[in-house]
């Protein structure tokens, strides 16, 4: 958990202290597709050793931001700093040794088996004179083990269930053995049980190895359950940033997502739960909505 509330990423933390804990950072980052800006002069620090979830409505620029963090997109302005160096000026291979990235809904050629997919994660560690080594073999086996896909190693991806396939892709990113891992909607198109399966795995990785994980998630309650820090984006800007309890408020949901919702707190973990309200449901009394405090009523209250 982030120990401090950090609404403004550029707040007054001494540079030295911050440098020790932040390896990945966006500075005045502007991102554009074909000249149309999608992300505007954005500042964001990814705290080391945390799980950060980026949330926001469709088209808010969250995937774009993740792509820039992974050096897949060149900034139109500002920069992404990795260990203090601008990431798009570093060689691709060097970045690939430090940051692993899994794009949204990746596709594999038909007939590719899990072991071969995961083995391709070793690409940044290989050169034309140094091909497959025992270290690569060990890394692939670790990745397969960590994701519970060792038994699936010889199966082809097309034979797997959605959750298994996603675990195999994560295993590929893991085999890269980077300390930073960027996942773009890893739970896309999965049913709830498989979403939990994938996010539990992400949490395992984070806890077992101290990896820094940044993920883009759509499900707000799951994001709150699994992330230490939430970054809410709207129209290419950061609307809020902090612990799940700080960020997921009824007011923010209304402002950022245009969503009428009630936020409760899960009894066991205290994580915020978002209960969306249908247009067909009777609106709640006006004062309760406008108050929009962080302290929502406990679960079980009649809506």
């Amino acid at each position: 958990m982030s120990p401090r509330k950090r609404q403004d990423p550029m707040d007054a933390v001494p540079d030295a202290a911050r440098a020790a804990r932040v390896r990945l950072r966006a500075e005045g980052l502007t991102l554009a597709y074909d000249g149309t800006p999608v992300v505007h002069a954005l500042d964001l620090d990814i705290e080391d050793g945390t799980v950060t979830a980026i949330i926001g409505p469709n088209g808010c620029g969250k995937s774009t931001l993740l792509r820039a963090f992974g050096r897949l997109l060149k900034p139109a302005g500002g920069q992404v700093l990795l260990d203090g160096r601008p990431v798009h000026r570093l060689p691709t291979r060097e970045v690939a040794g430090l940051v692993g990235m899994l794009p949204q809904s990746p596709v594999a050629p038909e007939g590719l088996c899990v072991a071969d997919l995961v083995a391709r994660g070793r690409h940044p560690h290989q050169t034309w004179y140094r091909r497959w080594s025992r270290e690569d073999e060990a890394a692939v086996e670790r990745a397969l083990r960590a994701t519970g896909t060792l038994d699936l190693a010889e199966r082809t991806l097309d034979e797997l269930s959605g959750g298994q396939r996603q675990r195999a892709w994560i295993a590929m990113a893991l085999a890269q053995e980077t300390e930073l891992l960027l996942l773009d909607e890893p739970t896309n198109h999965l049913d709830l049980a498989h979403q939990m399966e994938v996010l539990d795995l992400v949490l395992d990785l984070h806890r077992d190895t101290g990896r820094t994980v940044v993920l883009v998630l759509h499900d707000l309650s799951l994001a709150a359950r699994y992330a230490d820090r939430l970054v809410a984006m709207k129209d290419g800007r950061i609307a809020a940033c902090g612990t799940p309890a700080e960020v997921l408020t009824e007011k923010l949901l209304r402002e950022v997502f245009g969503l009428r919702a009630v936020v409760r707190h899960e009894e066991r973990t205290g994580a915020p739960l978002v209960i969306p309200l249908s247009r067909h449901e009777a609106p709640r009394p006006a004062p309760a909505r406008d108050a929009a405090t962080d302290a929502a009523p406990p679960l079980g209250d009649p809506v």
């Binding site: 692993g100 990746p106 050629p109 038909e110 007939g111 072991a115 391709r120 290989q126 025992r134 190895t209």
Partner: protein, 354 residues
Amino acid sequence: MIEALSAPVPAEAGSPRRQIAPERSRRRWAGLLVLLALVALTLLLSIAFGAKPLSPAQVWHGLWQPAGTEGDIIIRSLRVPRTALALVAGAALGVAGALMQGHTRNPIADPVLLGISAGAGMCVVGSVFLLGITSLYGYVWFGFAGALGASVLVFLVGTAARGGAAPVTLALAGAAAHALFTALTAGMVIFDRQALDTYRFWTVGSVSGRPLELTWQILPFIALGLALAAANAPGLNALSLGEDVARALGVRVGATRAVGMAAITLLTGTAVAACGPIGFVGLVATHVARYFTGPDYRWILVYAGLLGASLTTAADTLGRLVARPGELQVGIMLALIGAPVFIHLVRRRKPVRL
């Protein structure tokens, strides 16, 4: 931090891949041996059989103790050169076909699709039409220049498109280039009988009547093309997971595509220049290779090269036997054998998504 997860993995002697998927690895090596044997077999058959029946003793004599008999001359000046050219060009076309399918993510990619054959054809016809060149040696290098020019053009047009040399833009640029070159070629052969005669023999695709020196001359280009193809295989494997994943894995996408295009250009350019546009080899060899190896370009390229060499050589040999004492050109034979086999393959297995 990452080390916390490093459970010690038992180290074993031998191939480090043995622990995961050992069965497939064994199968791939076994398949490689089978293919090498197949190449050797087709090579022997191609030298042993032809329009004029020769006994094994005569063949042996012609190869090792030539004394200028008719059989010796047939072996040394006809069969050995065409066998060598068929092997080399077939391997080049097989590997190039696999590269083309990989880079365009298009299961029907071949030199025709990328406009390379049409570019070579146009320059061959142009050299006859404009410069009056009629000898094979004269226009071979024009064909090479045409193939080179066409693929550079296609690559540049494909790259200039928004988003860089994406599979679709490459294929579309190739189709456009093909249409343009074919039209220009047609325009020239309509006006010039000499150009038409040269073109209609060239465009069938043949390995006969080429001296052994020609094979030696194209060999360095093909060797360079094969080396580039080998260097391209890991990058192509990563690219087959999508450009974003490839970049995240440290692949320089533009450079990898450029190396791939350079290899394709050298391999098809030389093969097409020397033999004419032999169609179908790259297509069939790559599909058969992928059927056995799965989607791993390090293996697909090797398999496709060996399959291309043996297919071309076998088709050329058959072409000499079916129409004795005349012969059917290798390009015609390949299509005659290749098309039914290919249709059978496609009907039995649904076409793969690349």
